[in-house]
């Protein structure tokens, strides 16, 4: 397949030559997904810890729902945000549809359940070890949230990276609410879909390589953080 081999060479040339189109798309992808993970984490970390620490009616149902939402299909999340933000929708006034802001919202919805559910798991496990000691020290339940989040910090860093992985790799949600507008809302995944269907394999392949590299980098970082934490802090 000489065409594919050529495409691969051209893709590498695009990456190594820091092609401005490619750089712009990668930058927007990072910007959208990192913002989404950051916003989701701000909500989901304390939320997950609170669910781990408090017993209340409906807690079991909430945990099941959160776990189920971890597998929420991106297109469904995208559709929901589309309906909310479309002209006729309840938040249509904001005029966010087909902007990076809408893409961030959609990805927050995708990432939040992952971070909340995994945080709940990790904090609950840690609290099992800490409960008696913290009770003995007279630490209130609200005060335990930052304490436990901080002590679980290395595990939670991995959780956030998992969230970032999901955000940066999904295509359905950003396609629907962003619209894949060149130079405005075009990110790596939507660009790959478009360029492939147009037959512009070099750009698609170049983006694919960058995306793969990014995912590998994220996983390597997660691994290194975990390992060094175990070695240093026991």
């Amino acid at each position: 397949m000489p065409d594919d081999a050529n495409a691969f060479q051209t893709a590498l040339a695009l990456i190594l030559g820091l092609d401005p189109d490619l750089i712009g798309i990668v930058a927007l992808s990072l910007q959208v997904s990192l913002s989404a993970v950051l916003i989701a984490a701000l909500i989901a970390l304390p939320l997950g810890a609170a669910i781990a620490l408090w017993r209340f009616p409906g807690r079991g149902v909430l945990i099941v729902v959160l776990n189920a939402l971890m597998g929420l299909p991106p297109v469904v999340a995208g559709l929901a945000v589309y309906l909310l933000l479309s002209r006729a929708g309840p938040l249509g006034e904001l005029g966010l549809l087909f902007t990076p802001g809408a893409m961030v919202i959609a990805q927050v919805i995708l990432v939040l359940p992952i971070i909340a559910a995994l945080t709940r798991q990790q904090v609950e496990e840690l609290h099992g070890d800490y409960r008696e000691q913290l009770t003995s020290l007279g630490v209130s339940r609200a005060r335990r949230i930052p304490t436990l989040l901080w002590d679980a910090r290395f595990g939670l860093a991995t959780v956030m990276l998992a969230g970032f992985g999901r955000a940066s790799a999904e295509v359905g949600a950003v396609m629907i609410v962003g619209g894949n507008i060149d130079g405005v809302t075009r990110v790596m995944t939507t660009a790959i879909v478009l360029e492939t269907s147009k037959g512009d394999l070099p750009l698609a392949l170049g983006l694919g390589i960058v995306l793969l590299g990014l995912v590998a980098l994220v996983n390597a970082a997660a691994h290194l953080i975990g390992e060094s934490a175990r070695r240093r802090l026991g």
Binding site: D129, Y130, E132, Q133, L137, V139, T147, D151, G234
Partner: protein, 241 residues
Amino acid sequence: MNEMTPLDVTAIPPLALEGVGFAHRGQPLLHPVDLRLEGCRRTLVMGPNGAGKSLLMRLAHGLLVPTGGHVRWEGRLPRQAMVFQRPVLLRRSALANLTYVLAINGTPRRHRQPLAREALERFGLAALEARPARVLSGGEQQRLALARAWLAAPEVLFLDEPTAALDPAAIKAVEDAVLDFHRRGTRVVMTSHDLHQARRLADDVVFLCGGRLLEHTSATDFFTAPASREARAFIRGELVW
């Protein structure tokens, strides 16, 4: 109050356990116990494994709610602390573990580090202040747990087998610390199954066996003339049933 200023010993409220029992899934683990601890004494809770010693400590300290009877502090709730067999230390430096409890009990920020350093010094940990607490040796971890308890200036200190996993030097350090607490005016309640340790430390002894409280007498009486067959056997180092 964090230095050696003695606490007002007579003011420590007595602790009364009235028919305190604990059952798990219908299985009684501790049969109803009546026990009164007062003054500034060192009480050793003794008995073989599975006697219910740790359970009794947790009920008295309020970590568990009894399934029968009442745990009552007469007058008011005293400041308490507990040191566990396996200390639970936070994943941060030794110093930060201490400033954490000071933050919890409302010590103003500017006083926290000096007080924490003082406590590290007292327990021979000054050189280790920046070390992550979780990588300290077992003996160092237990001393850090004692330093943490020290900062709470407890009127009543519970210790649950604090020396069970330690070497002789570390055991000595823990026992010295226990005596320090007592000198400062803290009532000490400690579990142990080590007879020598009990002889060194105890003013009085509570003896448990099979989930029942069999004796509560002065240490002298307990070691010279134990009343129950089980305690006699325990002191002779025989297996107790």
